[in-house]
């Protein structure tokens, strides 16, 4: 039992993973084998990278002890910025670069304002949620611009792999997941992120530049969200100003279901990905098992509360056991 709790503390995403496996089995049975067939999997894997990239950013930021509600708006602003620039003749690479710079700037502002004025990032990024969404509509002129036809879809959305199972976006997602995972677990910067979120006074007294660490996490979170938004726009073929609404809460739900702690210090990139996958699997599985799709949000909400309660309980139990031992 003690070992189990220790494993849990080291791998907070474990509970989410078990739940994911159970749900996949359940949906597979309830949908009479449709859930895991190639066509359906291709559908799920095609959408997963977009929400998944956002969840990775949000998870890392949460580990550093902060919070970002503006990701959904940045998700829309980045591709809109690109579309407007391209309409005015900018080539794709330049527009991409400009879009990413806008995201990085928003992340920087989120971080700088939060730290400089010592206010909760919940408030800073709630403000940014409205501001970035508003900017998206303003720059679009209220009418989504037409995308050029010669976009490098082969690099971002084309189907690849055995049986055309994946989109290129999935490879981007996998690469980012591996790199950010390694960053958290294998680099000194990852150590600083965990220390900053785990116990800020200790991190600061050991000379870690905690403000800079947090600002970098804010920027990473915004950039990943914007990049994910661009993937969605390329997949849909049109830069709608309303995309990504509600995504910020889904991303937080994903991180929390994956075992990240709202107070910082605990969590893994893999957990965020498992959380996102769970949400996508529930979305898809409910439909395939002929359940009214309006139950989707109920299920996500329930799962989020359940995950946090379970995590809190497990942590308390783990502590109690340590006292005895």
């Amino acid at each position: 039992m003690k070992r189990l709790f220790k494993t849990y503390l080291e791998k907070p995403e474990l509970a989410g993973l078990i739940l994911l496996v159970l749900l996949v089995v359940l949906f597979q049975v309830r949908s009479h084998g449709v859930f895991l067939n190639a066509d359906n999997l291709r559908g799920i894997l095609g959408i997963l990278p977009e929400a998944g990239l956002v969840a990775i950013g949000v998870t890392i930021l949460m580990i550093s002890g902060e919070f970002d509600l503006s990701v959904g708006s940045v998700f829309a602003l980045m591709p809109m910025t690109m579309a407007v620039l391209m309409v005015h003749g900018a080539p794709f690479p330049l527009a991409l670069l400009a879009g990413l710079v806008v995201c990085a700037a928003i992340g920087f502002i989120n971080g700088y304002v939060t730290i400089r004025f010592a206010i909760p990032s919940f408030i800073t990024t709630l403000g940014m949620l409205f501001m970035a969404r508003s900017l998206t509509v303003v720059v679009s002129g209220g009418f989504p611009p037409l995308l050029p036809i010669d976009l490098p879809n082969w690099l971002f959305t084309s189907f690849v792999g055995p049986g055309n199972m994946f989109r290129m976006s999935f490879l981007w997602f996998a690469a980012v997941a591996v790199l950010t995972s390694l960053m958290l677990s294998r680099t000194n910067f990852g150590n600083w992120i965990k220390a900053t979120g785990g116990f800020l006074p200790a991190a600061a007294s050991m000379g870690i530049p905690t403000a800079r660490v947090k600002i970098v996490c804010f920027m990473l979170c915004s950039v990943l969200s914007g990049f994910a938004g661009m993937l969605q726009v390329l997949r849909l073929g049109s830069p709608l100003p309303s995309i990504g609404e509600g995504l910020e809460l889904q991303a937080v739900a994903a991180a929390v279901i994956g075992g990240a702690s709202l107070t910082g210090g605990i969590g893994t990139v893999m957990g965020g990905i498992i959380g996102t996958t769970l949400i996508r699997v529930i979305d898809n599985g409910l439909v395939l098992s002929h359940v009214d799709a309006n139950w989707f949000k109920f299920a996500i909400g329930f799962l989020t509360i359940f995950a946090v309660v379970a995590n809190a309980w497990m942590r308390k139990r783990a502590k109690a056991i340590k006292m005895e031992g």
Binding site: N191, F199, A202, K322
Partner: protein, 243 residues
């Protein structure tokens, strides 16, 4: 004069109008265990915060090993060999002992602009040695600091300071909230500093703890040093009477 590892001269600090440090001059001698006592608001913490880089003095000079220095950040203090162990733990409970030992000073296999891949093998090996050196018996450097008792955590903090060859170790109320047994352990650590040639500055409310392990007592009150004697030449009663 020459055996002073840190000497401060005429140190002043104002906190929004409050004169917290009124011209403190003090020599910390090499290899000595110095007990710093005084009431809340006497200026002990202000003095310590200035030496550990948390705050800056408004006036005065600090010399480390005879050289005038400027300590602007905790990192500056650490680079000068001044390590501070605070009353709240300077450990991150959600991280392992090995990770905690190297926070902010992680060995890397290669790095670009200060960010690089951790040398985890070196971290594991060195943390085992560092912990053994302070006579702390822990199962594994992979245990989370959150699993340790308060005394063990202070032990790890001391092991960390030792490992980085600190010359001066400042312990700010290290025995607060500890049981008697654990307190004795920490007092043992402070005594052990001497053998390793490390200067210890031990801050406590508890006179008995200070008299138990220090060579010299410095008492502060109202932002000034009011007593500075060797332990053999003073008594708990005398220290109480000046506070």
């Amino acid at each position: 004069m020459n055996d002073a590892i840190i000497s401060v001269r005429d140190l002043h600090k104002w906190y929004s109008g409050v004169h917290a440090l009124k011209g403190v001059s003090l020599d910390f001698k090499r290899g000595e265990a110095l007990g710093l006592v005084g009431d809340n608001g006497a200026g002990k913490s202000t003095l310590i915060n200035i030496l550990s880089g948390v705050h800056r003095a408004d006036k005065g000079e600090i010399k480390v090993e005879g050289r005038e220095v400027s300590i602007a950040t905790p990192r500056d203090a650490m680079d000068l060999g001044i390590e501070t162990i605070y009353q709240y733990n300077s450990m991150v409970p959600t991280m392992s002992i090995a990770r905690n030992l190297f926070i902010g000073r992680e060995p890397t296999r290669f790095s670009v602009l200060g960010v690089g891949i951790l040398d985890q093998k070196k971290m594991a090996e060195e943390s085992i040695r560092a912990i053994a050196n302070v006579d702390l018996h822990l199962r594994s450097p992979d245990a989370l600091v959150g699993e340790l008792s308060g005394g063990q955590r202070q032990g790890v903090a001391i092991a960390r300071a030792m490992h980085f060859k600190s010359k001066v170790m400042i312990l700010d109320e290290p025995t607060n909230h500890l049981s008697v047994k654990e307190t004795n352990k920490v007092i043992g650590f402070v005594r052990g500093l001497k053998e390793q040639g490390v200067t210890g500055v031990f801050i406590s409310h508890n006179m008995h703890h200070v008299f138990d392990c220090c060579d010299r007592i410095v008492a502060m009150a109202r932002g000034e040093v009011v007593l500075d004697k060797r332990v053999a030449d003073t008594s708990i009663d005398e220290v109480h009477s000046v506070l």
